[in-house]
């Protein structure tokens, strides 16, 4: 059992490593940015009279920037030089990929192209905001799904139940950005209901508790969008499983010995219905990580999702690669948590058994 788990984790780590390497190499091969970025785009708008001279100086300046960022080195251990005759060259350890890997193993994620900040510190700051958001969204969504699932499973088969189930099924295809945008336009709109702060700057003279309260109010709508977005995919399978379990023989026995319908559902059917749902839980964390990208961009929150989106828009590759690594880590965490939950839920899977 442990060996199977380790093999699974090992495969996941290898996949994360490979995908980050792919993103790293493709970003370096695509080029198109860091040196222009570091020089500022204003050089494109320079006076046409100075064009001839500035072309040479610009090239020299770009060369300096490329050298400083280490971009003048070959990308990979082996490179292929195009053009006849095609030549393959071995560069040994003096290449960008090797240096990136070595720095990563020392815990150094590199430096941003935009302002030279350490990516690790930037990411840490952003995660400190996104992790509570995604984590509380996960907890609230799971709790709501449990409550809603239990209610829908024992509710009489009337019109309300059908309506709720149909609504949830339709809700499932609603893209998160559309959901969050409607919430923003409904509840944080100066021309409609202006209940909650949607975006903008915190009040200037706010101190500790006020500031915390402000950010809490700011997080209500993003949290609500994340929860509502993942609710159907958690609830619908749970309802189906519960209704399946209630018809099983052991549930009939439990009812025959005099338990109420609610007791049968909660004590007997729920543990069995939860087991297949744990697989869905493993996907919950990555889904929420992808969701934070949309939600934080829309609501202007300083989290890791917005960091990724802004870095991608500005061709800031070190930050992009680090964010990819981070979301791969979130998936790993989801896998580990699910396996632990499996062990807790099903005694047959425990290593000692």
């Amino acid at each position: 059992m442990m060996r199977w788990l380790l093999a699974r984790l090992g495969r996941a780590v290898a996949a994360a490593w490979l995908i980050a390497s792919l993103v790293f190499i493709s970003s370096r091969l695509l080029g198109g940015g860091p040196e222009q970025l570091a020089l500022g785009d204003s050089s494109d708008l320079s006076r046409p009279a100075a064009g001839a001279r500035s072309a040479a100086t610009r090239q020299a300046a770009q060369q300096v920037v490329r050298h400083r960022l280490g971009l003048d080195m070959p990308v990979f251990y082996v490179t292929r030089e195009a053009g006849p005759p095609v030549r393959w060259q071995w560069h040994g350890a003096a290449n960008q990929y090797h240096r990136w890997v070595m720095a990563l193993l020392h815990g150094n994620l590199g430096y941003s192209y935009r302002d030279g900040q350490a990516v690790g510190a930037m990411l840490w700051q952003a995660v400190a905001f996104s992790l509570p958001l995604a984590g509380s969204a996960a907890v609230v969504a799971v709790g709501l799904a449990l409550g809603l699932g239990l209610y829908l499973a024992q509710a009489p088969g009337g019109r309300l139940r059908r309506l709720l189930l149909g609504l949830l099924a339709g809700w499932q295809v609603m893209p998160l950005f559309l959901l969050a945008l409607s919430l923003l336009l409904l509840f944080a709109n100066p021309d409609f209901l202006n209940i909650l702060p949607g975006s903008g700057q915190p009040p200037a003279n706010a101190s500790g508790p006020t500031l915390a309260g402000y950010w809490l109010a700011r997080s209500v709508l993003p949290l609500l969008s994340l929860v509502l977005a993942v609710l159907p995919e958690l609830t619908l399978p749970l309802v189906a499983m519960l209704r399946h379990e209630v018809r099983a023989g052991y549930a009939t026995t439990a009812r025959a010995k005099g338990l109420t319908a609610a007791q049968v559902l909660r004590r007997h059917a729920l543990p069995n219905a939860l087991l297949p749902l744990l697989t869905t839980l493993a996907d919950l964390l990555p889904t929420l990580v992808a969701g934070t990208v949309v939600v934080e961009v829309l609501f202007g929150l300083p989290g890791s999702g917005r960091l990724l989106a802004e870095a991608a828009a500005a061709h800031d590759y070190p930050v992009v690669v680090a964010a990819v690594l981070l979301s791969a880590a979130a998936r790993l965490l989801g896998l580990v948590l699910t396996d632990i939950l499996y062990f807790l839920a099903d005694p047959r899977l425990r290593p000692s058994a």
């Binding site: 994360a16 970003s27 609603m174 336009l185 990819v324």
Partner: protein
């Protein structure tokens, strides 16, 4: 039509969904010839965030303009065209690739596809030549010549002696590894990271979307193929002496692909919302590209302009709901 009747005969909603999808595709097809007063990408700077107007004097913005001055109606049409030219081909490509990869992985597994060593030698020779590795002139000619000799040696009198020189291609491990690799990061994060470079052309974006969408199809078809492979009719086909590749293509694959009828609309819906989310965040595309997602993004600059969000938002939502309804109708139909 006879094909659709069992699907929609008793389901008015299903018919409605199909009608909406047909409308969207028809608009997408005739978009270049529609007599619209404004084009989608050119802003009308005199009328920024103008509400919908039906004034009879001069060309009106029937659905209003967005905060950049672009006509919303023209944007809707351009979005429908983009759906037809980008998302649909990407899904078809991904479905075809996923069906072939998943079907092959499920049918042959890790052990059953045994290729003669000559094939490996030949492939090595061709790869050596194509990559122009050092010494490719001599090495690849030698390798290909060996391969040709070995193939010639499968001439029946010699074949039994050479039959043992074969290797198994681990198709299943390769396909599953690729799906694991692409599943290591959420699709939106991977899409944003890969679109971080210079603006993508439409063809590059299409390829990227197809790459992100094929693993789901491949996993589904692989699972189905594992069940189809052990059915008696496959055994009968094998017993009647058909070659493996023919059994796979003509008998096993059509059966393994049946669930795709219901899965592909859902896959398309997922891809449309993925593409719209990318456009909404505004990464990887030039500013002149108009889609429903990019139109929706502009409403943030002027929250009072509800018409900018309402039209593309409703169109997007209706399309996604219609695709879901279509998938459900197909799955429920008695023929399926």
């Amino acid at each position: 039509m006879r094909y659709f009747r069992p699907f929609f005969g008793r389901q008015p909603l299903g018919g409605l969904a199909l009608a909406w999808l047909l409308l969207v595709s028809a608009v997408g097809v005739v978009a270049p010839w529609l007599p619209l007063p404004y084009s989608a990408a050119t802003p009308d700077l005199l009328q920024v965030s103008a509400p919908p107007s039906w004034s009879p004097i001069g060309p009106a913005h029937y659905l209003g303009t967005d905060p950049l001055g672009r006509d919303v109606l023209a944007g809707l049409v351009a979005g429908a065209q983009r759906l037809l030219l980008l998302s649909l081909p990407a899904v078809l490509l991904a479905t075809a690739a996923g069906a072939v990869a998943g079907g092959a992985a499920g049918y042959w597994g890790n052990q059953r596809l045994r290729l003669p060593l000559a094939a490996a030698t030949g492939a090595l020779g061709i790869a050596w030549w194509a990559l122009a590795l050092p010494g490719h002139a001599i090495a690849s000619i030698l390798l290909i010549a060996t391969a040709l000799l070995a193939i010639a040696a499968t001439w029946p009198p010699l074949a039994p002696a050479l039959r043992n020189y074969a290797f198994a291609l681990p198709l299943d491990a390769l396909v599953l590894g690729a799906t694991t690799l692409l599943g290591a990061v959420p699709r939106l994060v991977l899409l944003v990271a890969l679109a971080a470079g210079p603006p993508l052309t439409q063809l590059q974006l299409l390829a990227l979307l197809a790459v992100l969408a094929w693993p789901g199809t491949a996993r589904l078809v692989r699972g189905q193929m594992l069940q189809v492979r052990v059915q008696p009719f496959i055994e009968a086909a094998r017993a009647s002496g058909l070659p493996m590749s023919r059994i796979w293509w003509r008998h096993a694959l059509p059966h393994a692909c049946r669930p795709l009828l219901a899965y592909t609309p859902l896959s398309l819906a997922g891809l449309i919302s993925l593409e719209s989310a990318l456009a909404f965040i505004g990464i990887g595309q030039g500013p002149e590209v108009v889609s429903w997602g990019s139109l929706l993004a502009t409403v943030r600059q002027d929250p009072a302009a509800w018409w900018v969000a309402a039209a593309p938002g409703l169109a997007l939502l209706c399309t996604l709901l219609a695709l879901q309804k279509l998938a459900k109708s197909v799955a429920k139909s008695p023929d399926f």
